[in-house]
Symmetry: C2
Subunit: 383 residues, 2 copies
């Protein structure tokens, strides 16, 4: 039973055909309302253009080369990735400017990075002196130059150096390290994105901005220019854009909008509405043996519940209450809700990024018909 079992193409069959009515899509399937998606892309790009800040959308949200190339075509300077293998998959598919907004640790990954440097404009983050040394050695031995950003922890308490002094020290190390070029600062506050109340969210973002400015100013005083200061997400980007500190935004989820982001509130207390829900999981009612419950074919392997249950789109009388591996349980909250076996429902995922990663195909529709079948190019790219 041991031994290497090779296998053929393991990508699954698309759940739809181009031109088919939306109702013919097999389920569960990942569905994209192309008009809403394009509206979102134009909206944020238009904002960035108007303010005069670069937009580098995060591709960890979609992992899809077709979307990355479209974002760039619409004006984005490039995309962000989170993993080296994710960057490699998108570069393979034609994306030419990728910022890995993450530390790359371990020899095999750094070797992979070295091989990608000549194929695209490539940038990574560092927050550790040993890692700087490892990156430098690998790039030098391959005769390559890698762009490097010092990551600063501006509130997420995850990756990134804690103090301006550590950032300065690391920037100095990068500046003299063979094979590395110092680009600037990565300063993303993940935790600020989902603070519901506007003023609290703004306060968290402003705190991150103040810390970033202090680090930039210290480096500047020491004669080190931060050409790029990168950060901001769908929940906080207006603040980074207005700061005068950041030079590029990294928003990802704005193209899809999930249930979690839609819970954020505007300054006037209303739910934010600047972007539209464009991403759905299409699911079928596969069992209905009780008057108060409906079972659909989208469970944990079809929709991520880490940020809460999905919403049933456009159906006030149904509520997704529980997910098991392959089943979703919906409560019928209004007894007269018309729902029968075989009905198709659209779910808005609680969290778009890990949901997209469960699928091989993104099914785009327009005017009720399937208009695009896009591979989720970097699906499962974990390395």
């Amino acid at each position: 039973m041991d031994g290497n079992t090779l296998c053929e193409n393991m990508m699954n069959t698309p759940p739809a055909q181009i031109g088919a009515p939306l109702g013919d899509v097999e389920t569960p399937a990942l569905i994209l309302d192309l008009a809403a998606y394009e509206w979102n892309v134009s909206k944020l790009q238009g904002f960035a253009d108007e303010v005069g800040i670069l937009l580098r959308p995060h591709a960890k949200t979609h992992k899809c080369a077709a979307i990355a190339l479209h974002q760039i075509e619409m004006g984005a300077v490039g995309v962000c990735c989170q993993k080296t293998s994710e960057a490699a998959a998108l570069i393979e598919a034609g994306v030419t400017d990728v910022f890995i907004t993450n530390e790359v640790v371990g020899e095999p990954k750094i070797e992979r990075l070295a091989k990608l440097v000549d194929r695209a404009t490539l940038r990574v983050c560092v927050d550790n002196p040993e890692n700087v040394t490892a990156l430098s050695r690998a790039m030098e031995s391959h005769g390559r130059q890698l762009d490097v950003m010092v990551e600063v922890d501006v509130g997420a308490q995850r990756c990134g150096v804690a103090t301006a002094e550590e950032a300065l020290s690391l920037a100095r190390q990068v500046l003299v390290a063979p094979g590395l070029r110092f680009n600037g600062l990565q300063a993303y506050h993940g935790g600020a994105q989902h603070i519901r109340e506007f003023r609290e969210r703004r306060a968290a973002a402003r705190s991150a901005i103040a810390k970033t400015a202090a680090v930039r100013d210290l480096l500047d005083a020491e004669g080190i220019e931060c050409e790029i200061v990168s950060g901001g997400g769908t929940g906080s980007y207006p603040f980074e854009a207005a700061s005068g500190v950041y030079t590029e935004l990294q928003c990802g989820s704005y193209i899809f909008m999930d249930v979690d982001y839609a819970r954020n509130l505007e300054a006037d207390g209303r739910a934010i509405s600047e972007f539209k829900h464009s991403l759905f999981v299409c699911t079928t009612v596969m069992s209905k043996t009780r008057p108060d419950t409906v079972v659909v074919d989208a469970g944990l392997k079809a929709v991520s519940i880490d940020s809460g249950m999905p919403d049933v789109y456009g159906s006030a009388g149904l509520s997704y209450t529980g997910a098991s591996d392959e089943h979703g349980k919906l409560a019928v909250t209004q007894p007269d809700t018309p729902v029968t076996l075989g009905d198709k429902l659209m779910l808005v995922p609680g969290h778009c990024d890990p949901t997209v990663n469960l699928y091989d195909w993104l099914v785009g529709y327009r005017d009720g018909r399937v208009a695009a079948l896009w591979p989720v190019t970097a699906r499962g790219c974990l390395l």
Copy 2:
């Protein structure tokens, strides 16, 4: 930007090579301790053989043809699947006996089923008269015969008819439906599997068994024989096995054991220990800028947290406290815990089934070296 973009093989590169030391595996990776896995397989098969009940392990847990074929080689009568496309992938890889323990609803899926019938012994569940009619029509038009089980809701309140009378009515419909053969009853109580306290778990299982017996007896009294009564999971199988009602067990998780199952208690109040943890997510410490926190490269896309956070295996001083898309945050709970950048840690997933579905490869090791690279054959098979 619209249009069909085809793509090449999207399966990711294996994170290891056969023969390499375990420490060389790239991360995050799904790792299988082959000795522990084989011990688990033998343990439950030995139990089933001794009791004289058939074992049909659930392949939704592993989705891996190499494991399915090994389970059958060790004595299993076949495997269970949850999706038609999952069954198709395993049949394609050589598995010849599959029970889809689920309703198959909608014309494209039923058509796919009809094409599989001649390639393997195949069985599905029904809980709805219209679905019986649809299955019958499709099988008749293809000149095929499909084995059908009536699913009874024995406590999970998900799929399955609610009463013995409905089961009888559905069995009668199946018996006279062209193209269908009535096999017996599907009676699985998912909710009973994770009841921690032994007597409560036993009570839930016994309630399910009593209901199943009542349905079987009613059908028997009406002259309808239930050749097969199928159910039981890793948390409840001793009760179904001892019942005299069930003819086959459907345990899945026993081969891996996850954190959630390991929280179940034995009759004496101790945590169950009958099966060993064999499945791990190998992860690397990729950032450590604070004394009390470690960041690893396995987040939501590498380990499912729907049933709780993963455990850090063999490291009492570290606790996995939070997952974001590509990062796991670990608290250092004992200040002297030796942990540095680049260290590899083994995580025991909170829930094995959806975690396995995130990976293309299962890396088997023995005596500290990689001994098997198994494709997760039915990864992402949602249809």
